[in-house]
Symmetry: C2
């Protein structure tokens, strides 16, 4: 098998951050991202395309990753789809051990990189080379195939209040929301799941990361929690109610995974001895699935 | 069978209101309470013991029930347990078709009437005579056997943050919270359920009522929703974490019942043809159960 210079031995990790991660003090989440990318010698590339203040964003992460001892850190400024198909820029991704997407607007991020050579190279980085991909806030929402694009609800879920778009697709059959507890977004996430029971909703708090090791398991790091909303067995009347009405939702399953939660799929070599609920196991199987390069 | 003068033909209803019910405009919830008590000719008694401004409370409900055409409306002021064992006052409950408990502090309400003759007479009213019992805010929380007494959480559930007390016990195996969406109390209710998976959590929004017809079914009336949190099949690590930490919660079931939701247990005479999830059916069986007079 032909290997690239920067292939690592891991399965490839996703570090999905709910926004507002600490960048000035212990930087626990960013430190973990660096570690999963290979440590201080890793090449880290920062994609600021979600933001309209890309240089300011880069300054923040340049400082933070520098403080964490990363010497090879690079800004990848992308303002157009031409940029995202530019050979030199794509090569920066091809040579990166860690790729970090900042906050901003996930629709802007996708409009610039969705379906480009750079997008494809990120999939290769994760799935072939085992690179680590991180994203915070908009950069977190962008990671799933179905992306929570925009929309808000009042206190309760509402029919038709939230719209989805096509995300980067590093994981499938889920939808990700961020700033979750802080902005009281359960009603918004339930609105999505009510319409789309095919998707499991993942709500990530600020300064909190859901870390996914492909093929293996998950871990929650930081200060808050990850909330999972699973509507696959739900009953709902959403098809029959008027727009903006609140749907009846029966039998939604909810998991709350605070920082420190770690769950791994049992393997033949190391059979798990911690009992796991079937619904949680299915969640693990969904998010750790090694989807092909799309 | 000996009947009392005010026996009605119903099974006895509970009207459990999340606070802030409209008292000035269409008064939909209070109108429904009056209807379930027997209409404008019903005798309505208002218990203000939860409040330290009992006369002001009475003034509000005197006006509202008067506007709804109720002629026989009475204030039952109770400031001590002696009051709640006073024969004349207990007789007012014995003769009432509708008994309404205002907001205030549920601990104060229970300290005054818990375990008194008046408490016992309320059970007789509901269970023997089929009277209607309503309660809003503190008066709602007081209805269950295990009562959410006090405590609050930050954005996430916390171990040890909420304390229970002994409520009036019109229904069992549940705990009731009010002002639910408005005060973002899901974390508080999940805190209770995490500690007490024996209890199903019921969160009622403002200007919203959960109406329970004993032995028969439920209905949600008003402007908001009723949220049910069922932790009976949950896994949690709450026993092993430190105080105030956030527990891991796996497989909590959540039902959202917006205003307009109506669910009835199928009977032999009228078998239900609307499919019902087993978890919802168990919730219905729990809350409509005809507990004996305790």
């Amino acid at each position: 098998m032909k290997t690239t210079p920067h292939q690592t031995s891991s399965h490839g990790h996703l570090v999905i951050i709910g926004g507002g991660e600490d960048r000035k003090h212990d930087k626990a989440i960013l430190a973990r991202f660096v570690e999963l990318a290979g440590g201080p010698d890793a090449r880290i590339v920062v994609i600021t395309a979600a933001s309209t203040i890309a240089d300011d964003m880069w300054e923040i992460y340049d400082q933070a990753f520098g403080d964490l001892g990363v010497k090879q850190r690079f800004h990848l400024p992308l303002v157009s789809r031409q940029d995202a198909n530019d050979e030199a820029k794509v090569r920066m991704v091809a040579e990166a051990d860690g790729i970090f997407m900042t906050g901003g607007d996930q629709k802007r991020l996708l409009a610039i990189i969705g379906g480009t050579s750079l997008d494809a190279e990120m999939h290769t980085a994760l799935k072939v080379r085992g690179a680590c991909i991180g994203g915070t806030s908009a950069g977190a929402s962008a990671m799933s195939g179905h992306m929570l694009a925009q929309g808000k609800t009042d206190l309760l879920p509402q029919k038709g209040a939230v719209s989805l778009g096509a995300g980067l697709g590093f994981l499938h059959r889920v939808v990700i929301d961020q700033h979750f507890s802080e902005r009281q977004r359960l009603a918004r996430l339930l609105s999505v799941v009510a319409h789309n029971p095919y998707l499991q909703g993942i709500g990530i708090d600020e300064d909190t990361a859901l870390i996914i090791e492909r093929g293996r398991g998950i871990e929650v790091v930081g200060e808050g929690s990850v909330t999972v909303v699973d509507g696959r067995t739900m009953d709902t009347n959403i098809a029959d109610i008027r727009d903006h009405a609140t749907p009846e939702l029966i039998d939604v399953r909810l998991h709350l995974l605070p920082a420190g939660s770690r769950w791994y799929l049992p393997t033949d070599a190391e059979p798990g001895n911690r009992p796991m609920s079937p619904a949680l196991r299915e969640f693990l199987e969904t998010v750790t699935k090694r989807n092909p390069i799309s």
